[in-house]
Symmetry: C2
Subunit: 708 residues, 2 copies
């Protein structure tokens, strides 16, 4: 029996303790404190800055434990996760000192031990840096994102972020029940074996994915098992089980699948010639023997207050990913690990999960204390995730082998994590970081000023095994902007105040993420209203994301992953790369990505975004098909320019179970009174449209006069 408790909390400030205030559990104490202080919605204006003064406070949660311990029961205080370094005191006596938010803490309770205090120490801040940024997290296993990122305000949250309760237990309490299995090579037989930790015999009952009982025991052989497949490839079949003793019952599910990282097609042919390096690292996901193109998005912290996320929010967000034809989340390390509900829902909805340990963009040290906490937290994370079928791979952290992090293959934290994954879950892959050799991250804007080209061209010139981060920014819709930007700041937009705090400026270079320089490059009218700016940014974000996702798919099978940066956001940003506006509202870019990820679709490889009258417009027509099913499609190709739609040709793909390249468009662009044009691929009831920049002769004359 679990007894949740009522909590109050207070801040220990330099001037002494604050008054006590009601604390939401699970939650974050800074939120509760802000409520007491009357700081208002953190999304609005510059309210977030009010929280900065709380950074170095110590916090205390307090409760008088309420529970009933019956005959034969013992009581245990259980904390599933407290963020980040804390002591637990009972009746004033220290019982536990702990560092790490991903390990569960349990304290047996004696009769009369009722007054419980959780004292949370100030946030870790590395002494190896003088800057108030993510580097302050470089000596701890605290996910660094709350120290500030280009899309996340600096807001150092802590507190009781997972469930805590008193649990009363009989002697036959089931401390652990875990299912392991092997599949034979052709997936026609599964051998399931249960491990339990209990002082009494445990009766386990296994059910098939329809809920029919298979039998009782602790080992099962299943002939022709129903396999767990990711979204788009088949059923996400889940077997279930219950495990019972006289006084206790637990339940769980099992997804039978084999997931591996194998070499991309063609990658073994490289490198050619001497002196010869190594071949690229494997990143092609193979699920149940089938090479799956991984389509998805980077999951980041969906709330500044990570303790507030609940199953309902997870479900809405994951269902949206499912509906957008995604099959994978890369759960970015900077945000840490999610609550168990997240992985349960991914299991259910067939979204594969790339788990990253809480390391990102820092140089985590070879220091004994850090390694000790990392071993503790890493072990807890792996043990809590290894039976989820959705969890297909682990990764040491984000961009650790680049010059803003300065870690290498020899860094002991990454060698330690490899060791832990090997010991605790050797059947899943382990990457030291992303990107590794062959993969790539970026770019993050529609136009790349260094490469001097747009994302259409940039990605067609690239040849990578996986694109696991890339972004195209947009501006948030007006309704949401009004929730965060005070009326008087809305327009004209200036690099200060709420726009700046909400990442429109100086997030990643001066003009990011608003990108006025990029918008103006393609605008053939003055951007003299917020609506016009939003429209232009939306256009580039939608077309840019489609261009990259579809190009990555066309580069299959050498390329096998397209995962954009990023999926959700932790608060309402004014501008940024996410597909979902906080908390759960899809952007137009979400809809664009959804079309670009259709399992079977006509697609155009268009060499650039920006065209002018008189040029010969070219585009390769493709059929994309990642279903592994034979399909045949007839594609009508036309170009709409101004009032006129020019029919170009019809291509019949013939039967194919994979991508197929078709003919190319060659069409001399007439002069027309238009600033855009749309390439239309009609394939039965489906359409793929690409709205491109078009410059008439008139526009160019005007441009020349304006010396643009």
């Amino acid at each position: 029996m679990k007894y949740p408790q009522n909590w109050q909390a207070r801040a220990i400030r330099p001037d002494g303790p604050s008054e006590w205030f009601a604390a939401r559990v699970p939650g974050n104490v800074q939120y509760d404190y802000g409520r007491m202080m009357g700081w208002g919605d953190i999304n609005y204006g510059e309210n977030a800055n009010l929280f900065l003064e709380t950074e170095d406070y110590t916090w205390e949660y307090q409760t008088t434990l309420q529970y009933e311990c019956k005959e034969g029961e013992t009581a245990v205080f259980v904390a599933e996760g407290i963020d980040y370094r804390f002591d637990i005191l009972i009746n004033g006596f220290p019982k536990v000192s702990h560092e790490g938010m991903f390990t569960r803490v349990e304290i047996p309770l004696a009769n009369g031990e009722n007054e419980l205090t959780v004292r949370i120490h100030p946030h870790p801040k590395s002494e190896r840096t003088e800057f108030a940024d993510r580097a302050q997290a470089q000596d701890s296993v605290k996910p660094p994102v709350c120290y500030g990122w280009d899309w996340h305000p600096r807001l150092l949250v802590s507190g009781i972020w997972q469930d805590v309760y008193v649990e009363t237990r009989h002697a036959d309490y089931i401390r652990r029940c875990e299912a392991f299995y092997t599949l034979n090579d052709d997936f026609t037989r599964a051998e399931i074996r249960f491990e339990t930790d209990c002082a009494a015999p445990v009766e386990i009952t296994l059910y098939d994915p329809d809920g029919n009982e298979i039998g009782k025991g602790d080992a099962f052989t299943i002939e022709n098992p129903r396999l767990w497949w990711c979204n788009g490839q088949g059923e996400a079949a889940l077997y279930t089980y219950t495990a019972c003793t006289a006084h206790h019952e637990v339940s769980g599910h099992i997804g039978l699948r084999r997931a591996r990282l194998i070499m991309s097609d063609g990658a073994w042919g490289e490198p050619y010639g001497f002196p010869k390096g190594r071949s690229v690292a494997p990143i092609q996901l193979e699920l149940n023997g089938r090479q799956v193109f991984a389509k998805g998005s980077n999951w980041v912290n969906p709330d500044v207050f990570n303790g507030h996320i609940d199953e309902a929010r997870y479900e809405t967000l994951i269902q949206l990913a499912h509906d957008a034809n995604m099959n994978i989340f890369r759960c970015w390390g900077g945000s840490g690990i999610s609550k168990q509900d997240f992985y349960d829902l991914c299991d259910k909805l067939g979204i594969m999960v790339w788990v990253e340990f809480p390391l990102a963009c820092n140089c985590y040290p070879d220091d004994p204390h850090y390694l000790q906490i990392l071993e503790q937290e890493g072990s807890a994370i792996i043990k809590s995730l290894r039976t989820h079928p959705a969890v297909v791979m682990y990764c040491g952290g984000n961009e650790l082998f680049n010059n803003w992090s300065l870690m290498t293959d020899q860094s002991l934290p990454l060698r330690l994590l490899n060791k832990l994954c090997y010991e605790l879950d050797p059947k899943n892959a382990y990457l030291m970081t992303s990107p590794i050799f062959g993969m790539a991250h970026g770019g993050y804007t529609f136009y790349d000023p260094d490469a001097k080209c747009d994302v259409f061209t940039l990605f067609q010139n690239a040849s990578n095994t996986a694109y696991t981060e890339f972004g195209v920014p947009g501006i948030t819709d007006l309704e949401n902007l009004k929730k965060i930007i005070p009326e008087e700041e809305l327009f004209p937009i200036e690099n200060k105040g709420s726009w700046k705090l909400h990442h429109a400026f100086e997030a990643w270079g001066d003009e990011r993420w608003l990108c006025r320089d990029v918008l103006e490059r393609y605008a053939q009218e003055p951007l003299d209203s917020l609506e016009k700016m939003i429209d232009h940014a939306r256009w580039l974000q939608c077309e840019g994301y489609k261009a990259i996702f579809e190009e990555a798919r066309r580069q299959a099978p050498y390329c096998s992953m397209a995962i954009n940066w990023c999926y959700c956001e932790p608060w309402i940003t004014a501008a940024g790369n996410s597909l979902i506006t906080y908390p759960v509202q899809p952007k137009p870019a979400y809809e664009a990505v959804k079309t670009a990820l259709r399992p079977v679709m006509a697609s155009a490889r268009i060499p650039k975004f920006d065209w002018k009258a008189g040029e010969t417009f070219t585009a390769q027509i493709w059929l994309l098909n990642d279903t592994h099913q034979q399909t045949e499609t007839s594609v009508d190709v036309s170009l709409r320019l101004g009032d006129e739609t020019h029919p170009l040709f019809t291509w019949n793909s013939g039967l194919t179970a994979a991508n197929k390249i078709g003919p190319s468009v060659n069409f001399v662009l007439p002069d027309a009174d238009a600033t855009d044009m749309t390439l239309i691929l009609s394939a039965g009831e489906q359409t793929s449209q690409y709205r491109l920049c078009y410059r008439s002769r008139t526009e160019r004359r005007v441009s020349r006069q304006l010396n643009v």
Copy 2:
């Protein structure tokens, strides 16, 4: 007290047991059997083929144990290494079944247990291959080289390859005494700590590198310690110790140093632009805080009969490397691990050791049995090597991430080895394989037919962090050829018989390693005698090796390793890439490499080997200096062509503690009656000479007539 034993052996053949024959221990039973059979010197003619019939024999060693067990002693049978899978029977009863040649086996002996048999099972041969080559070793931790390589005959050796003896021990026997230490960041203090395993107190006495007693105890602090440096960088200082009980004494040495792999200078600046991959992997050796350019050679099995190698042979070979200005051996994984004497001598002579586990060019499996043996053997290897100061890094094996091996970062054997190194010796680096990202292997011939250029050009066009294999073949000298090629086969050379068996043909493509095609490319006379062929091959091998070693050094600090393929050879080859002819005779190429590795030297970057009259000859003049000491040199540059020496210029380098580029030669080559020319750099008493191919106008006319 150790009691060696006298051994006899026999083969268990399909037709029954052979007679007993005397067995050399340590040694290889196939050698002893060959002696009994009268098969002659294995180096001669095609004698090596006679041994093929023994491949699948079972072998038995037998002895009647002779030892004296005094009052208070117990007796133990100790086998330091038996190759590869064996049982030990005493008085006919099986006592031990074991797989693995790198783990020690000990068996306590009771009174009257005198008759000891070692039964060695046939060689492991993987069932996953149908070919009689190295792939047969892919399921075992048997070093694959004896299954046949392009420079090693197929000769499957096994047997008691390390010392075996009966040891009588008192209760205070010291089972283990190991020294560990930490150095502070500026190397001014060492903390040494001893770990012992003994039933009685152990008295440890520590001595400084001059043999003066420092003190007694099990922990020592040394202020301003004398550090261990590799050859060319300082003293290879060794502290020593004795550890005593009443009846037992062991001794050892300690070299105090910190070795790390760090990023090469400039490597963090890459890659540039988006989409962005990872930076290369670190391979720059840093010793005691100093970046050391690693100059050396690939150590391979120096005897077909690996059991016969002794301390004297090791010492001669390692001293030669020391004298050639080398500071590192890459101990290639295909050959396995050497005996302890090898590492002791490397400690003493300052030769750093890159240790490779016994995996090479195969796809070692994720199979539980293989992983179990690898864990056992890997652990034994690391524990036996971790206190040697010379051992600076571990590597999973050779060329495992290339398409002739098909292993990847996800292969469990390589993840397991990472785990073992992390647990048992985390202060030394671990590479999964060589090459990793940034490094390169090859080429192996003077002229590359795919790149259509010679090694001068090939390596100047390359940009790698380390060249850890590259080879230029030569033909063995006439005196040694006569030891292996019967008189009647010597000339003309044909692709068959002894030449072929000794790797002149079909070792690596038809014409390797004799390379008549390459010799003829540069020969301006018919190669109508063996002497002429040997001379031409020697010319290319010497100039080729100098060109590559010096180019790699010029590419410092981005490049930080030059390690040629290979150092020694296991028998007398007719042609090949080694610097030493079996057993210990330096080739002319050894002398050439010795000059190219001088710590301070003038060097010329010559864009190609092959020049003709009328061309403008160019060469950049460099001063190479890897001593980290300031030096200043004046270099006189001249070109000798025919009878004439053309003085070109004098360059004064100025003071420099690193490499420095000087002026370039530009010189229009006159027509001369010559087929070669020599660029001469005189710097005080030192000279660097480069003998290049020169073609006069006459030669070209002749060539045209001959349609060459």
